[in-house]
């Protein structure tokens, strides 16, 4: 573009200023609460509760995190969630990927019907109670590890994204020539298709992982035994501790206990959110692609 830079007309200057200010405010509102939780988790609780923290930690302490390490329930929740998230994501990928590949093959005659079979579930479902009864009674998955990993391991939306990616990114000639060389479907999928599909594989993996990591509902609905509870459910009970006490601070309230509870709340939020917060920027370059593919064939 060979365009000389001209002085902006006044209206354009105002427009720029409005755009920059609005964007800045939006980012501030988005980011500051998360940042505040981090600095509050590192500050002495008496400052946090007095509202004296704004930009950086005050009275630096790791006491909140030390407290978490002494709490068996949160450590077990953490371990459970790591297990559920990794095992659940692995199962989901193993179920979703070959299916998406088969459905992407134009010469696979039954693919239309199978697709309809999956699509129906996006609009109709049994509802909370029939699903609960099916899983606990008919399938006999009571409280335990299995119920946190097996149910709903296939997400139809993710399946569609992956299938569309395979359809548009794997040239048909590639399969035809591989077939001439005597390549089976399994070998083609493992050695040709998957290495070419890192983008979609990583984004779908992230979707499953985040879904499992942040899942609170399954634990609430199915788990009766505390030792199986995932992180989110343990976190919830930490976050609601002393809530009644905090909402009406009266004389005689045990302020020290309240402070400690608050500090633990801040640190547990940070500790439980950190893994996903660290992970997503690495995969950000794939987001646009993933979301666009998903929208083409909803």
């Amino acid at each position: 573009m060979t365009k000389k830079r001209m002085a902006l007309p006044a209206s354009e200057a105002v427009f720029r200023a409005v755009v920059y200010t609005l964007t800045f405010l939006i980012l501030l509102i988005t980011f500051y609460p998360l940042y505040y939780v981090v600095i509050a988790s590192l500050s002495s609780a008496k400052y946090a509760m007095a509202g004296e923290i704004f930009l950086w930690p005050k009275g630096f302490t790791l006491e909140g995190y030390a407290e978490l390490l002494r709490d068996d329930s949160i450590l077990r929740g953490y371990a459970n969630t790591i297990f559920y998230a990794l095992a659940g994501t692995a199962v989901s990928m193993v179920v979703t990927t070959p299916c998406a590949y088969a459905l992407s093959r134009p010469d696979f005659k039954s693919r239309r019907w199978i697709m309809v079979f999956f699509l129906v579930t996006m609009f109709f479902n049994g509802g909370m109670i029939p699903t609960y009864l099916t899983i606990t009674r008919q399938l006999g998955m009571g409280s335990g590890y299995l119920v946190m990993i097996a149910p709903f391991c296939l997400n139809v939306f993710n399946l569609i994204i992956m299938r569309t990616f395979f359809e548009t990114n794997l040239p048909r000639e590639l399969w035809e020539s591989a077939q001439l060389d005597g390549c089976t479907n399994t070998n083609y999928l493992l050695k040709v298709a998957l290495p070419l599909s890192k983008a979609v594989l990583s984004i779908i993996m992230l979707y499953y992982l985040v879904g499992k990591w942040n899942d609170y509902f399954s634990g609430l609905l199915y788990l009766r035994d505390e030792k199986y509870l995932p992180l989110q459910n343990v976190l919830r009970s930490i976050l609601t501790r002393n809530q009644a006490m905090a909402s009406q601070l009266q004389s005689g309230t045990n302020v020290e206990a309240l402070r400690k509870a608050n500090l633990v709340k801040y640190s547990s939020i940070v500790a439980s959110s950190l893994p996903m917060m660290i992970l997503y920027p690495f995969l950000q370059k794939y987001f646009e692609k993933g979301v666009m593919i998903g929208s083409i064939k909803g």
């Binding site: 354009e12 427009f15 720029r16 755009v19 609005l22 964007t23 939006i26 980012l27 988005t30 980011f31 609460p33 998360l34 939780v37 007095a50 070959p98 299916c99 590949y101 005659k109 199978i114 079979f117 999956f118 579930t121 049994g126 509802g127 909370m128 109670i129 029939p130 699903t131 609960y132 099916t134 899983i135 008919q138 399938l139 097996a150 149910p151 709903f152 391991c153 399946l159 479907n185 999928l189 990591w213 942040n214 509902f217 989110q232 976190l235 976050l239 905090a246 601070l249 709340k265 801040y266 939020i269 439980s272 996903m276 917060m277 997503y280 950000q284 987001f287 646009e288 979301v291 666009m292």
Partner: protein, 315 residues
């Protein structure tokens, strides 16, 4: 298409099916785990929906329980809360849609005004962050911030010389808190698709607008908004379809005895009736069925409407 004719002329269906499966057995094996999973976890519960018309007694099982016709539906519509619960669900999802539909578009337009790719990327990275935080954490942050005694809300109001209330305990504040946190959490993420659409606008179009001396506002109106139009329609239909299926999790987690007047929605009521205290499986399944029927009707209605007006439709 011509397979059907051949089938009649030559072999019976099952032989043909067997031949097809053995020819492509690998592909059928590939879809098998997914089909089984969906069959077990999505279709089997649909079979269980019949308990809405039965008096389900666990010991007798689904098939063994007696049919009771519309007893549970009558009971729901005779209960004193039914109208309030449906109204709460509809109003909550309507407000959610009203704000979470247009705001990502506005944000995408804002981001698109930045020329530097680096600036765009930084803005987007920051705006996605809350999307990866769990609902439990979001609700936790809300209650820490809004605490009248120890939260930021508390000391700001006190600094202004006002006696703080407890916003989470006010039923009039529930919807604002719910919708506000939805926006906070997902606006950045939901704008990805619009930002991507805008970055695909042909450069010639933008140049033409510039040559014609269009101001930035005119460019937004005549180039950027029209470019996003079909994406908007599809997303709008999709959100109408889920109008009645407001997320259970957040409403449940934000709920407390003081804000029940607005926070009790169909999903939380189903949970309470179905799994709280003495479980009333059949009654709760009936309410769930009413919810799904309304949902599907809404989706078909809006899909039909948008097709009629010559816009994009889902199917």
């Amino acid at each position: 298409m011509n397979e059907g004719k051949e089938r009649k002329a030559e072999k019976p269906f099952h032989e043909k099916a067997l031949a097809e499966i053995s020819a492509n057995w690998e592909l059928y094996l590939f879809v098998l785990p997914a089909v089984i999973s969906v069959l077990l976890f999505n279709y089997l519960p649909m079979y269980g929906v019949q308990i809405a018309f039965k008096n389900f007694i666990p010991a007798k099982g689904i098939a063994g329980s007696a049919w009771v016709g519309l007893r549970w539906f009558e009971r729901f519509f005779r209960s004193y809360q039914w109208l309030a619960i449906i109204k709460n669900s509809v109003v909550l999802s309507f407000y959610t849609l009203l704000y979470t539909f247009p705001l990502p578009i506005v944000f995408a337009i804002l981001v698109n005004q930045f020329q530097s790719q680096r600036a765009k990327k930084i803005i987007q990275t920051v705006s996605y962050a809350p999307h990866f935080v769990s609902t439990v954490v979001v609700v936790g942050i809300i209650s820490l911030f809004l605490s009248p005694s120890t939260g930021m809300y508390g000391y700001i109001t006190r600094a202004l010389g006002v006696q703080p209330i407890n916003p989470l305990g006010e039923s009039s504040m529930f919807r604002t808190i719910y919708v506000g946190s939805e926006i906070w959490q997902h606006m950045g993420w939901q704008s990805i698709i619009y930002i991507a659409t805008l970055s695909n606008v042909s450069p010639e179009l933008i140049d033409a607008a510039r040559v014609d001396g269009a101001s930035s506002l005119q460019k937004i109106w005549h180039v950027e908004l029209p470019a996003m139009r079909s994406t908007m329609t599809i997303l709008l239909i999709l959100s109408f379809g889920s109008l009645m299926s407001v997320g259970f999790e957040k409403a449940y987690l934000l709920q407390n005895p003081q804000n029940l007047a607005t926070s009790e929605i169909i999903a939380t009521y189903i949970y309470k009736v179905g799994l709280g205290g003495t479980p009333q499986y059949s009654y709760s399944a009936a309410i769930g069925l009413i919810n799904s029927v309304v949902n599907v009707v809404l989706l078909l209605l809006f899909n039909g409407a948008s097709r009629k007006f010559g816009e994009t439709s889902l199917f």
